[in-house]
Symmetry: D4
Subunit: 252 residues, 8 copies
């Protein structure tokens, strides 16, 4: 404790980092950041940009960067991204920004990328499932898992699916994103002996649109699946990371 | 007209049959029976027993038998069936009763069974889909179609499905009944070039139970399907009959 | 096989077409196109533009054109259409673009239009059902069916409906599009002996709006109907094509 | 006031009747009865038996009988009816009980039946709509309206409907009860120039069952209807009475 | 018939008006107009502008004006209104346009305004219910009923309601528009002996928003109401007109 | 601590009571009972009997009685009540059982009834709301609040409501239970300046039945209300107790 | 009365204020304002700007200001706010405008701020709950309550919550706003003995989004909560004021 | 192959087992059993008894026992269980029946119980969650995982939860079953770094009852969870087995 306070006093530690160390979270302008989540939960607190002002997104991301050397932002808009980029130019010019669809990772120069001895297969039924799968991919890559992305194997042309079964069987855990009737995770889960996490995607119109038919179908699946909310690529990715890390720990 | 009335007068024609001939429908104790439906619509009026008293079911079935030589009753309870059997013993001792699950066909001794040069494939995903498929089967058999029943080929064990593809391709029209997530009609419709009619079945519990997930999934299907209501085996069978008869007409 | 590869080698066959021939589908920038769907399923894979970027729509349409001599795009926006038109000017200047509402057909110069000896009646209840009916019409015309379009015969003025019964009876299969309470397919199906496919349309406001009342009503219909999802004109058209082709086959 | 109290004192008026006269309502064991509703609202307070104990139903009915010479009970069970009959044998042996399905009217010997110079047409689509229509019929008969009951004219056999149009046009107000897709009120309202009140009936199964499709369809109707809740025959009848009485007043 | 055709021949009658006379409806560019609805149904076909293009609105309105001397358009947008005004300047310069909120009435110079000896009370709970009430008001005024508009008497300040009871009792029929919890029609219907038509209004947010709570509450009302769909001011007005006309007929 | 253990050792304290004292909760056969809830939360843990076996209900109630001198059981069935009574005869012959509808209070001989200087008004719209109000009443009486129960003042006969306003204004907090359209809490909350807690009741049938219309209406109320779940009389009572206790504390 | 009228006559009292004094409400251009609500109900009528035109908002706010020295406007848009500011510059240049998010308070120079001896704790789970909490805060501050705002203590990092328990226990009443799964009010209500009012917030996407999961979860809470509608910060604040005032009255 | 057939010929192998070996599934009276599921999918096909006749349950269980030395039956009723027990007495007198709630495991004398070096924590919020957790427990025990069952730690008494955190952290994967608002999986998942699978339980009444609030809340969880359908204890257990086996494989 004394050491920590002396480090703050001599400027080698920022007050925010010290607060994070002591409390587990940091109280900033835009709210309390759960700086200890990576340690406690195994995955970092991602900043859900949707519903926040650009200023709030920037403040939270910069607090995360300062206290954990890294920030993960999901569902960011162009306007929010521009605000973040502009602000980081000044406050953290050495930081790296990685953007993938609407997901952003900011890394400090000191950040050390971990790696996991486990493979997450990320599968989509069609083109429109891409952004949701990308969100999952960013989280898995952030944790250092090997990723095998298999796109566009929807069951309307079943050969597309069957041709990939060997790759699917090689993964340690599978994330399968599908909209419309959402049958793909059910079909795949019938063919492999790995855990499958279904992600309903909000494509489709009319009755059961917005991903509701896909969600209900995955919950009712006649095979074994666990499911996350509609479009919740981040949650699926994070759950896959927790499983992959447990496997990695067994292997090491 | 004169002839008809004279036939009534001399007792060779019942008043009900004469009314059916003249008006197209017959007004009895339990309501008006659409005696002309077979002629006009190509399928007979089926008597939906659910929600009717045994007396009403008997009255309607006997009117149908009297005016069209045949009665088709769906969703009949044991109590309603017993009442029907007892009454027919007296009013129509020559009639034949065929019961299949909760569907009943009554045929007069004079009834001539038609036949159609077309095959309806009736497919189920699992054991619980049986009664719904049976309802469809009775209607198709009633119309004289050839029936190919393929049971228990749900996608959880995809080989069960794929092993039957050749039979499925041989049908002229397919009825596919499935509950839970209802993926089977989608998978099958991706493999054949015949019209597929999906029938959601009210199995399954929890969210999307009661057939709602299966219905929504079939409506959202990424292949081409048309759909009937949950458990509506009769409607699926009747629609298949209309298609089969059009094909039969083309062939003859 | 050898022939195919030699054709690719000497440039008389594009790699994409060869892949389509060998695999059944083609893997491009914007996903896998099911090039074999016409052969296997009897209807081509339509590209649902909604939810895709203009670049993705263009890439998929051009792959379809290259490998199957034809592309069918539904729910295209003006921006997506402009991108397609601009790109085709360069990549396929001989191709023909047919646009009908939000549905587009692209045909190569070599495309041979098939024809079917069967008539699809396409019926609307009111003016707002037009675009949905148009989507069905494009699919049926693409398959070469004869089309009889009967507009604006909603049941509020029942004479409008009854005056067309003879035309309706002449069709081999009927598609009936209706919004609001969606009663028209029920009334028509009571009058004809052809299969009727109901298409609920997302007109109407308040409770049951967005086509939900029409869908539920068609599923509950006291006559025999099969149904597709709200606004799913393409699916209704494709199902009608499958039926029409079976009838055509019987006739020939 | 003085007169009233003296009548109570000498026993020529019961305390309950006096309370009803003074307060408009009577407080008894099973709750407050709105004895003045007939005067104020033009229709009596009906006792909804569903959810009440037999004792509560009896207490409320006897209070109504005592203070307004008449009691109207809806949705009565056999057990509740037996309790009422038994109790009335003792407390009001001169009273008359009229039962129609699950609706009961109790009349004191003094009750004077009013009459209205107006006709209410009560129409059903099918046999299962009977009990709901009966509830409406009891209310209209209670008010003294002429009733024209037209049964079983559902649109599946449209001739049944069209054959009755003249009778339908002769009514001053129409109540139309229909379940399943509930199209009948829409079709009838397109043919007559009288007010039509639609009553959705809770027949039908699957999606939109329990009367929900019929309700949504009547609310979305492309003609002019007003609607009451599912199975609310009493409400439809009472609304028709209010209209019929206004017409009767105009005529007299 | 001969006369009619001669009138067309000599130009004193337009073909459209002749078609309306003969068929009951007119087939134009934007659909079939039910020109006979006023005669048959007692209220004119209103043109629901929502979901139609400006060209379609103009075409339908001009057909109505030509064949029935009047056009009624509901839910018109500014863009549709401008197109109508511009076109009428040319095609019918003598016509009068009356706009009230999003409802428009176009009258030819020859139009004779009818009048009814009956009063429709139109009541709102709050300011936001105004446009829906206005739609009802236009229809009632069009039919010539006397209108008594009572605004802003929501139950949150019950004295506002009670202060108006005498006026409410004087009306022959009441339309009561209310959003949020929609309690006003229930409270009013408990106080008057006239028919009350409830109109749920799509104000309110959160659970039960969009008018759904108000609709459900009116259907569940413990008094006697009939109801129309959310925001369906036109339907409520038209139903009131049918009732008012029946009363007027009784009085004359 | 030592004292506690010695008390257990010499039998003057049961192990369960000691566990409750030390841990705040007691682990028994049927689960952990939150014995400290009264201290921590101000209201005791009520045992929701629904969904539990009679054995589980008995075990939990006896643990509560042993460790807190009192047990509160809600939604108890006759079978569960009988099991409880039988068991208590043996295990706690001095305990008192108070049953009110489906709510039961068991008191040890030592139990000291507290009292609060605050009045809770409990109001019902009609007879069927009684059991839900009774549940609230038991909880408030248990806490020692003065209770003013006002029954059967539903808005269909508004005078019944208005006649009670003075009593309603005298309460410190009001619980208002109503089913069907649930308008009563809204009307009352417009007339008093005390906090009103609305309890939707699951009466009513058809659309919005089961209490859903009442719940949605109370949430949408144009006045100020807070709400509990459908039929949640216990929760409303407990919330009123917390408010009443705060007022009582202010007064003392 | 005479005095009042003389004050109007000599201009010392505006007609609106006199009307408010006499009737309890004031009838203006944009509707009737419930000027007596503060006296009768203990909280002022807030003007819900959503769904009203800027002119209507201005008219109602100015009437409120004139007759009650204060106006409270919720859910105001920028355009409505600008119109209000501009108009007040002219009509009430001495008035003060306080804006907090989308809530506005206008105070006349004469307005006397009351104060309450009670503390309302206002708690949020995350950053996006801020605007809803702010609406509650304005109402409580307006009534003069002490406010303790505790932000960003969502249960994902439970230490954030537990660290604040002492502050939460010190409040007299708690408002807890939370979106997503809405678990925070449940967790807090398990730890304190004050009344907790849950406010579901419309954050979150997919199934249960728009605040529906949070609302359902708060209604189902295994602790004791009362709840207001989704995003209804004003209602929660007003309910807290009524409780706080009762406590304050007890204390004084 | 030859060997297999010879084994059938000499009676050392039953035809069913041979079919299972060759086809992967066995076709019996009550449907096709997926005998290869354990090999292919890592978990056996469980026989869902709900919706099947006792005869069907017996036939499927005996086929499973014959071909895979084991049968797993879920949601079995007393009547189905009795039929199974009676039949096995005759057909497989050496088999062992293990019943836990409504889940049954039948083991042949030859069955070898596997074991996994991994721990599944199974957690319940309250007593009513027990049967759902038991279903999960049977599946995990069947696979040989170590099970740590932690009961009755719902968040209403948060200390109950926090006291078990160390045990929860020691598990390799957690299944958390909770009804009502379903907050427990969210709270636990915030405290541990293992994968958490949430199981909503169908306890609770009113709005969001039947497990819907719990499901929606788990899907909306502000932490990382994956979810299975309401009451789907079997699916949660099977998913945990797949994860546990992957961890076990890593360890060995």
């Amino acid at each position: 404790m004394r050491e920590l306070l002396e480090a703050v006093a001599d400027g080698s530690l920022s007050p925010a980092t010290a607060e994070a160390e002591l409390m587990g979270y940091v109280t900033g302008d835009a709210g309390r950041l759960d700086a200890a989540r990576q340690q406690r939960r195994g995955i970092p607190e991602a900043i859900l940009a949707e519903g926040k002002s650009p200023e709030q997104v920037v403040a939270l991301a910069e607090t995360a960067l300062e206290t954990t050397d890294r920030a993960l932002v999901t569902r960011i808009s162009d306007r929010q991204f521009d605000a973040l980029e502009t602000s980081l130019d000044e406050t953290a010019p050495d930081a790296t920004l990685e953007r993938r669809g609407s997901t952003v990772r900011v890394l400090s120069a000191d950040y050390e990328q971990p790696s996991l001895a486990a493979t997450v297969g990320i599968v989509t039924a069609g083109t429109v499932d891409g952004p949701v799968a990308a969100e999952a991919e960013v989280v898995c890559a952030d944790a250092g898992a090997t990723i095998d992305r298999v796109d566009d194997v929807g069951v309307a042309a079943l050969d597309r699916t069957l041709d990939q079964v060997d790759r699917l069987r090689d993964a340690d855990v599978l994330i399968v994103a599908a909209g419309r009737e959402g049958a793909l995770p059910t079909v795949i889960a019938g063919l492999v002996n790995t855990p499958v996490i279904g992600v309903p995607v909000s494509s489709g119109y009319g009755h059961g649109g917005g991903g509701e038919a896909a969600l209900a179908g995955m919950l009712q699946s006649c095979t074994v699946l666990s499911v996350v909310n509609i479009d919740a690529g981040f949650v699926a990715g994070a759950q896959a990371v927790l499983i992959a890390r447990a496997i990695d720990a067994g292997r090491n």
